[in-house]
């Protein structure tokens, strides 16, 4: 018992000291706490210890910017891609790994550079005619993203287009550049857009973002990293739903089930629904398609139902149904369901086979 008493005193003392020191650090100024940048797997606390809270905030913005782009690349769907990584040695490495974790990728620690989706990253400093420029890059397998950023008194801002290589799918990508504007700035302007590395693009969509003082948001009012990723993933699914509309006349129905979600907002499917999905996908063949009908909103806004449809599509992906074989059906209003109705919500899942 004495052992516990001693150890508990020590633990409690240490705990008290740490929590109080945490209080001081958080009161010191705006920025991001160490724990918000530390990966849950293989985090390197030491690498984060010697940088300020505002530097951590800059790194978080850069990592968020790059990873929010990555999740919109079809080959890099977080629901199906597991990335291989080494323990990060730098603060930027911590920020990247944490951002990838929070974006929903599977993360696997490897001893060297094993794996199809090995994560590598770099930061380089260049002295240019425009001054000092930091180039940050992130590569996952053959896909590489890079962008230059400058740091000034207001914060960190992009100073180039975001360059992407290793994929042909960049047309529908929307950059999460609004997160930089939330730092505020006195008439600051930065360039926004994505281009394929080394390939001239006549349809390049680039714009400039003006940042004013009134854009400044307090740290706790800024868009959380999680929301940025959720929006980026959702954008991918929305684009996917618009781009692909199969001609159902070429198919015939095979099976149908109705999954019931406990209410209008939950993303939890539960064991019974998951089992139904498992049983349904057993009969899926290469040329088949799955159609997800989730939208039943009476008021015409289908955010919640779109989220449920995405949830089901992610579940299908988890069981090996290819992205291009699952479709979210357009919204079909149900007049009987009021917008405020929070009763259990159905999602219809129909398995089609080619005629």
């Amino acid at each position: 018992m004495n052992f516990f008493t001693e150890s508990s005193r020590a633990t409690a003392g240490l705990f008290l000291a740490l929590t109080l020191s945490g209080c001081t650090a958080l009161s010191g100024g705006p920025g991001v706490d160490e724990k918000d940048l530390l990966p849950r797997l293989a985090g390197n606390e030491e690498a984060l210890r010697n940088i300020s809270a505002s530097e951590r905030a800059h790194l978080q913005l850069i990592a968020t910017n790059l990873v929010a782009t990555l999740v919109q690349i079809p080959e890099m769907r977080p629901a199906t891609a597991t990335l291989q990584l080494n323990k990060p040695q730098t603060a930027y490495g911590n920020a990247v790994i944490r951002a990838l974790e929070d974006a929903g990728f599977g993360m696997q620690i490897v001893s060297a550079d094993q794996g199809q989706h090995f994560v590598s990253y770099s930061k380089s400093l260049s002295e240019t005619e425009s001054g000092l420029v930091n180039n940050y890059s992130l590569a996952v397998g053959k896909i590489q993203l890079s962008r230059e950023y400058v740091v000034d008194d207001d914060g960190v801002f992009p100073s180039s287009l975001l360059k992407i290589s290793g994929t042909d799918h960049i047309a529908d990508i929307t950059l999460a550049d609004n997160i930089f504007a939330e730092q505020g700035g006195d008439g600051k302007i930065f360039i926004s857009g994505a281009q394929r590395e080394g390939v001239p693009d006549p349809d390049l969509k680039a714009s400039t973002v003006d940042v004013q003082d009134f854009d400044l948001l307090p740290q706790d009012k800024r868009t959380p990293q999680e929301a940025v990723f959720t929006e980026a993933r959702q954008r991918y699914f929305e684009n996917d739903a618009k781009r692909q509309s199969p001609n159902l006349d070429d198919y015939e129905k095979h099976r149908r089930t109705v999954l019931i979600f406990d209410d209008n907002v939950t993303q939890m499917m539960g064991n019974a629904n998951k089992r139904a999905v498992r049983l349904l996908v057993r009969e899926f063949s290469d040329d088949d398609i799955m159609v997800i009908k989730a939208c039943l909103d009476a008021d015409g806004r289908d955010d919640a139902s779109m989220n449920r449809a995405i949830r089901v599509e992610e579940e299908l992906a988890g069981y090996g149904i290819p992205t291009e074989s699952a479709y979210i059906a357009p919204c079909a209003r149900a007049s009987y369901r009021h917008a405020s109705d929070d009763s259990p919500t159905p999602v219809e899942l129909i398995h089609y086979r080619p005629r």
Partner: protein
């Protein structure tokens, strides 16, 4: 009885750890009170526990907990190949035991994916509860549809000893239970160092119906005479299946295209009976234990052809027999999705195609 689940487990103090827990709790409250005046530059209050490093939180996992989780994570790594398996964990889960467990699985090479709800085919959860026996706990982990569980006895000196075999359901993967004694993990009875395949507790869990809606079915339904045997019924997994009285093609023919039949067995039931009996149980046991591999599937056709005096009719009897055999297969650890059960029912005999009152079991192996 104390029961903790992987998604909501608070800390539980027991025995010698109680002092540590109580003192730490008091300190936590004191720290929280002190921090209540701590505000951000924006004037927002700070959650005192949010700034606690993970290393400190992890102290809440006792040494005996660690020994139990280490034991089952070793089994999990035999059931699923770590280097090609990604486990899903709820990202809001801050339970220290789960964090410890996940960290151990990551060290074994598993991919770890943080999900917002319960996404994924390998969603990870656990249940830790006291059993009815004094100083005994039951730890059960779920990875997708696979359950791995074991009882442990709490010993003096922060050690545990396995007090049951390792029970697996939803898989037939062979595992070796090589219990190695250590300071925290004692072996009191070597007889417990083995694996046993059992049925999942979620056997009768209500799940959505999966209807068969091919155009052929739809047109046949409209043409069907009202007094003939029904065209479809629901199997034990609530998947709608064709009545094979009307044709020879299995409802699951598309699944079996890539498999070849390895073995066939007929289980005969008594007249108007769904009782399996010892002999049939033994036949099923031999069929599964002696021949089945983990990647195989089993098709089975429950039959009832001829007059019956039961109210459930031939359909109820045929599918009921199929369900009874399915249950026996699941009880041997066979995963539900590996069993393709359907039926053949009619008030008249169908000749040699199917037995009048039995279940035809076939074992299929992948061509790949």
């Amino acid at each position: 009885m104390i029961q903790l689940s992987g998604n909501k487990a608070p800390y539980s103090a027991r025995n010698g750890n109680r002092a540590l827990f109580q003192f730490s709790t008091a300190s936590l409250i004191a720290a929280a009170a002190l921090l209540s005046s701590c505000t951000t530059p924006d004037g927002n209050s700070v959650d005192p526990l949010k700034s606690v490093p993970a290393a400190i939180k992890a102290e809440a996992v006792t040494l005996t907990d660690k020994a139990m989780f280490d034991d089952l994570s070793g089994i999990a790594a035999q059931v699923f190949p770590p280097l090609s398996t990604t486990l899903q964990v709820n990202r809001d889960n801050t339970d220290p035991r789960m964090q410890y467990f996940v960290s151990g699985l990551a060290d074994k090479g598993f991919g770890i994916q943080r999900v917002s709800a319960d996404q994924g085919s390998h969603y990870l959860a656990y249940t830790l509860k006291d059993t009815d026996t004094a100083n005994e706990k039951h730890l059960s982990i779920a990875i997708g549809a696979v359950l791995i569980g074991r009882d442990y006895r709490q010993l003096q000196g922060n050690a545990v000893s396995p007090h049951s075999v390792v029970r697996l359901s939803g898989t037939r993967t062979p595992v070796v239970v090589a219990d190695s004694p250590s300071r925290r993990f004692k072996i009191e009875d070597p007889a417990f160092s083995e694996a046993r395949y059992v049925a999942s507790l979620g056997l009768d869990e209500a799940s959505p119906v999966i209807a068969l809606i091919t155009p052929d079915i739809v047109s046949k339904v409209s043409e069907q005479a009202s007094d003939g045997p029904s065209l479809q019924g629901l199997n034990s997994s609530k998947v709608e299946v064709n009545n094979l009285f009307y044709g020879n093609e299995s409802t699951f023919a598309s699944i079996l295209e890539n498999y070849q039949r390895i073995d066939r067995q007929i289980i005969v039931f008594g007249n108007d009976s769904m009782i399996l009996g010892d002999t049939n149980k033994q036949l099923i046991e031999q069929f599964v234990d002696g021949k089945m591999k983990d990647t195989d599937v089993i098709s089975l056709v429950g039959c009832s052809n001829g007059p019956t005096s039961l109210d459930i009719g031939n359909e109820g009897l045929a599918l009921g027999r199929a369900q009874r055999v399915t249950q026996a297969l699941l009880a041997r650890g066979v995963a539900r999705e590996k069993v393709l059960d359907e039926g053949c029912w009619a008030p008249t005999n169908v000749g040699d195609r199917f037995p009048s009152r039995g279940v035809v079991i076939e074992l299929w192996r992948s061509n790949a």
